[in-house]
Amino acid sequence: MSFELFMFLVTAAIALAGGVGMIVARNTVHSALFLLLNFFAIAVLFLLLHSPFLFAIQLTIYAGAIMVLFLFVVMLLGVESIEDRTKDRLAGQLWLSVVLTLILMVQAITITLLAEPAESQAQNTALLDQLADPALIGATLFTTYLLPFQITGVILLVGIVGVVVLHQRAHLYGPLSETEREFAEQYAAERTASGQPAEQAS
């Protein structure tokens, strides 16, 4: 077994463990940490795939920004273990999803077994070294992918405006008034009483 394969297997095991852990963990902070572990493992896999640039980007943005944001929100709201598992009316959905997942797994294995094109460049180390150069990514970003790059800027702008809008409203209008809260509850009660059978099935 080559060193690279060994590294791959270990990292892949960690990545999978992280993914499973995230789903299984009861505590949201633990979930976030398992996901973080998974992100680290994927970053290492990027390194194994000759992409040091994405290794750094993955760590900086996913691990360093996105997951910190998640943890921050969980801590700020204090919702570490908010989940209520007693009302398990979703047992059917659970089984459905397990079956669906098994189908997807089978599909994944099929892809893997069938799809190994002959003209793979994965052994061409000279080419791969060339592709590992971050300058090449930059150059591609500003030439071929110029338009998507600019659109990304628009998306980030919309994201910023959206977050400010969502936050600002609370400042402008204050929290829900008592009457509004009552109205909402009354409305909900009315709706339950009237009963809308058709869509419950969906």
Partner: protein
């Protein structure tokens, strides 16, 4: 040393509509910041002006019929299909803003950022209609979705609005996961994300031998995942469960905007993917879409039948209409493109109109849009009742409205394509649909009023309803000019072709 950077030739005309609307939205954000006072109507009017300017720009750069321009490494294309779609989308956005201007202040949720966000979403839709590269399709979908998450949750003190925003966000992000994974598999199979090149790759690799090459298999599986992602966006059964909840919770103008705009843009992108890139796989996607369309038409209309709530009824009816549009998509290549565009315009007019009528009846703090409010409307506000009746008839597909011709063209194209079963199911579900549309009309004209309802009229609403009524009837009586317009709107099938 860094590699030499050679920026490829850029044809600004190709992205001119998009560029105009994004630039206008960005400047509008800043203008709004320095606008004194709490009144934000002026921002709304400026946004309308921006849409008008964009429409002019779109007309100025439109390519000669039958030709197309590409730019940015063939990532975007400007063909007559894109131009027509852009104009329809701009009309939809203009309607949405016109019915929002007083709605926002009336319900005390006025914030200047609302209008630039609508403009950004419209820009995302235009992008979706023009992009010929999967990564741009992904970015367009995300731009549209992120904007709409915020707009859906815009009705601040209302719980349901935020719930709707969160639901839409979780399902939208889930769908984005499918979309991007599908794109990754397509990239793995074809080695490119360019729709034209994927099509060429499939043609060559499928032509080689009898065996199914692994690359093509990856593209097939990826295409299926992309389709699932899109099904969420255009709410095809069984991926529609978010639709009624989200429409009900969001501010009514936003629901109107979503019901037509998002669907139109997402369908346009799907159309391009299916007939430019995945045409060699038509034998696979045709039956799948057929089943989805049938389910969607039947389920959407049957569910709408049981709704006492007008807003949810319109939401389910929009699910049903997604089914009809899907038929139009399936027959793309023959007459599908035209029937799609015609249907979209007819549906946009009727649906925006219906939502506008709903807004006139929506009172402050009111959250139930009961059909009861429409009872006896004819006796109190005959014009409003006639307008609503027109929209209902158009949505049901009764002549002489635009909706009739929309359905007619879709079914005719399907018939010509040999999809007899689909036509049958379409007609059957239309009959079901006619029942609940006509029920609204019956209540308006036959029943006594259940309770006191005082509609609110203002300029934006009146003009919107007026244009929608006139458009619905005129295109119903004289479809010829519109037909010739959409017939010229062919989709570009080759680079620079």
């Amino acid at each position: 040393m860094p590699p030499e950077i050679v920026i490829p030739a850029i044809d600004v005309r190709v992205i001119a509509p998009m560029l105009t609307i994004f630039a206008w939205a960005t400047v509008l954000l800043m203008v709004d910041l320095f606008m004194p006072g709490k009144d934000r109507k002026l921002t709304g009017y400026l946004a309308l002006a921006g849409l008008a300017v964009t429409a002019l720009v779109t007309l100025a750069v439109q390519p000669a019929p039958g030709t197309s321009r590409t730019s940015f490494s063939n990532m975007v294309v400007l063909d007559s299909f894109g131009t027509t779609l852009t104009l329809i989308l701009l009309l939809i956005a203009a309607f949405s803003i016109a019915i929002s201007i007083n709605y926002l202040s009336y319900h005390n949720i006025e914030m200047g950022e609302y209008y630039p966000l609508i403009l950004f979403a419209t820009g995302g839709m235009i992008l979706l209609g023009q992009s010929t590269n999967l990564i741009l399709v992904f970015l367009g979908v995300e731009l549209l979705s992120i904007t709409l998450y915020v707009l859906t949750a815009f009705f601040y003190p209302r719980y349901t609005s935020e719930e709707a925003g969160l639901k839409y966000l979780l399902l939208g992000a889930f769908a984005a996961g499918f979309l991007i994974y599908g794109i990754a598999l397509i990239y793995g199979g074809a080695g490119t994300l360019d729709l034209f090149e994927i099509g060429a790759f499939l043609n060559t690799s499928l032509a080689v031998g009898s065996a199914f090459p692994p690359g093509a298999l990856l593209v097939l599986i990826g295409g299926a995942l992309v389709l699932i992602g899109f099904c969420f966006k255009i709410s095809l059964v069984p991926f529609h469960m978010w639709t009624p909840d989200v429409y009900e919770g969001s501010p009514t103008p936003v629901a109107a905007f979503m019901s037509v705009g998002t669907k139109g843009a997402a369908f346009a992108a799907l159309l391009r993917i299916l007939i430019v890139a995945l045409l060699p796989f038509k034998i696979y996607w045709l039956p799948v879409l057929g089943v989805l369309a049938t389910l969607t038409m039947l389920f959407g209309n049957i569910a709408a039948l049981m709704q006492p709530n007008m807003k949810r009824m319109l939401a389910y009816s929009s699910v049903g209409h997604a089914g009809y549009i899907t038929i139009g998509i399936m027959t793309a290549g023959t007459h599908g493109t035209e029937s799609f565009l015609f249907y979209l315009l007819a549906y946009a007019l009727a649906n925006m109109g219906a939502f506008a009528v709903l807004i006139t009846l929506e009172r402050r703090g009111e959250m139930a849009w009961s059909v009861d409010d429409f009872a006896g409307l004819w006796k109190r506000y005959p014009l409003l009742a006639i307008a609503m009746a027109t929209f209902m008839l158009s949505l049901a597909g009764v002549p002489p409205t635009a909706g009739f011709f929309g359905k007619f063209f879709v079914f005719a194209a399907a018939w010509e394509d040999g999809q007899i079963f689909l036509v049958f199911m379409g007609v059957l579900s239309s009959a079901i649909a006619a029942f609940f549309y006509l029920r609204v009309i019956m209540r308006m004209f036959m029943d006594e009023p259940v309770r006191e309802v005082i509609p609110i009229f203002n300029r934006g609403l009146t003009i919107t309803i007026g244009i929608a009524v006139v458009g619905t009837i005129v295109f119903g009586l004289l479809p010829t000019p519109l037909v010739s317009l959409v017939q010229n709107s062919v989709i570009a099938l080759g680079v620079g072709g």
